[in-house]
């Protein structure tokens, strides 16, 4: 990947108010999640005297039905959501790139086998598998990351495969092959670097869907288990208390929306930036 592409991405980003806002939100949330320990409140400390207090100077987002500080819980919840999203993206992208490159570069029966596998997995509604697996496996953070990534790698694999197939016909790859370079060397030196744009775009969109999947799962009660907070499980709790304490429903949902929105916007900006041809469309 050359410098001009990055410059084109940077230019695209600068000219988009949404994009700048997205980066700002993501940086802010990441810092807030990382510095969650600075909060004077314990996210899981119960306090019967402080139940369902509306937002105040001491409790910025109020307290929930166990008297826990909601702002602190939102910070820790964000930590889980962002971590699950990021880790799932890394894992899914890794699997997707390996499968896609192997499939696209070697072709033949390997390609056939892998692509049929992708088709089968994509033929089962992913949210159903997600639910099933999270019931079968113990719902801890590690397993949830694993499950989400196992359901997300297919898109990247398909894109990477198509890109690899076109890259391997390029003259410099043909030349490298003619000069006796092995497949592994060619992939490492010529294919992988040129895959970066499509992989980065796919990965950005994947974080968005991973965070959404984790939230939905936690909302339904199959995600990270209590007392640990995630934005999704906070909303699950808030739904039952909507009549007494509507403010509980506001912030976690808003945070999911803003995070997912930012990643989606950035994904599109990266796509246009890497493929200036698209801009004209």
């Amino acid at each position: 990947m050359n410098r001009s592409k990055w410059r084109s991405v940077a230019g695209e980003l600068r000219s988009s108010a949404f994009g700048i806002a997205g980066i700002f939100i993501l940086v802010l949330f990441t810092i807030a999640a990382a510095l969650a320990f600075l909060s004077p409140h314990d996210p899981n400390a119960l306090n019967a005297l402080e139940r369902l207090k509306p937002p105040s100077a001491d409790h910025w987002f109020g307290t929930d039905d166990y008297g826990r500080d909601y702002f602190t819980r939102a910070l820790y919840g964000g930590r889980v959501s962002l971590m699950v999203g990021f880790a799932s993206m890394i894992l899914a992208t890794g699997i997707g790139v390996v499968v896609g490159v192997v499939s696209g570069y070697f072709g033949g029966w390997i390609d056939n086998l892998l692509m049929r596998l992708v088709e089968v997995i994509m033929s089962i509604p992913s949210f159903l598998i997600l639910l099933l697996l999270s019931v079968f496996l113990k719902p801890n953070v590690g397993n949830i990351i694993l499950i989400i990534s196992l359901l997300m790698w297919m898109n990247i694999a398909r894109i990477v495969r198509a890109e690899t197939m076109s890259l391997k016909e390029r003259e410099y790859v043909l030349y490298a092959r003619a000069s006796g370079q092995g497949a592994f060397g060619i992939i490492r030196r010529h294919i992988l670097p040129n895959l970066m744009p499509v992989v980065i775009v796919g990965a950005t969109n994947n974080i968005a869907s991973a965070i959404m999947m984790e939230s939905s799962l936690s909302f339904l009660g199959f995600g990270v288990q209590a007392p640990n907070a995630t934005w999704g499980s906070m909303l699950n709790n808030a739904q039952g208390l909507i009549a007494q304490a509507p403010y509980l429903a506001l912030f976690p949902g808003l945070f999911i929306l803003l995070t997912v929105l930012s990643f989606n916007v950035l994904g599109d900006i990266l796509r246009v930036g890497f493929e200036p041809k698209l801009q004209k469309r």
Binding site: F18, R116, E119, V120, I121, S123, I124, P125, S126, F127, L128, I129, L131, L132, L133, V135, F136, A208, M212, S215, S216, F219, L220, F222, G232, L235, A238, Q239, I242, A243, P246, A249, P252, G253, I256, L257, V260, L261, N264, V265, R281
Partner: protein, 316 residues
Amino acid sequence: MRQLFIKRLLQTIPLLLFVSIVCFAMIKLAPGDPVLSFVTPNMHAEDIERIRHNLGLDRPAYVQYFLWIKEAVTGNLGYSLVNHQPVLDQILDRLPATAGLMGSAIGLAVLLAIPLGLVAGANRGRWIDKLVNLVAYVGISVPLFWLAILLIYYFSIHLHWLPSMGMRTIGVRSAVDVLKHGIMPCIVLAFSFLAIYVRYIRSSTIGQLREDYVQIQYAYGSTKRIVLFRHVMKHVLLPIITLLGMSMGELVAGAIVTETVFSWPGIGSLGMTAVRGMDYPVIMGITLFSSILLILGNLAADLLYGIADPRIKSKR
């Protein structure tokens, strides 16, 4: 066309077979012994073994699979472990609620998405385009359960206009009642579909406006509105067909969260109940059912697209 049709149909069969194996394997690998749901405290070990034998659970896994698939093609998906009702009956029982909800949501989404997408695409970069874009972005990024909670708070708790859960008021059997219950879940789902459709229509409108026939129409003196809503629209409807086919696959899975929030008695909430109760036959039945819908939806999309746009044929 006929050849393409047959080819795609033949590709579908192994896919269905594999999906059924995956469904079966997933259930087999699941922890928990289904026999336990039949066990009562005063049973002997022999009784339990007899139940296991009667359910066929003591046979090798591949035999169980063949028995299961043999029954499945004839429409017998087994019986619920919880209420012992036939699985297929339960699914078909819930189908109208889900299909009605999804159908109206998709219909509403298409009706709104076509004009919004066309106008946004024709006015690229202007404020209306930016607004539609923002709405579409929010639509693909908003957690549907949160949107649902907000609607429930505003319309049910704050204004007392709409019921917050279920499909009917007990004892009331009127269409208006069902409609009142259905408005909020329908809006929630429609919003998510709208977002996807609008983005497609907008980008294909932008593409179409650069085609020669648009220039020719202008040269003949057509106004912008006529070009857009009469000529461009015809071409833009094509991708919608594909999208509708793909939405079929979402029929069940896409409704799980929304149906659960609103306690809508559809297949999605049936699935949720089954998952919570570890009711394997029901889970398996729903997974198979929705996979078949997804595969057939994609197939239908491909074929309709081929019929609508003959150019596709030559590419395959």
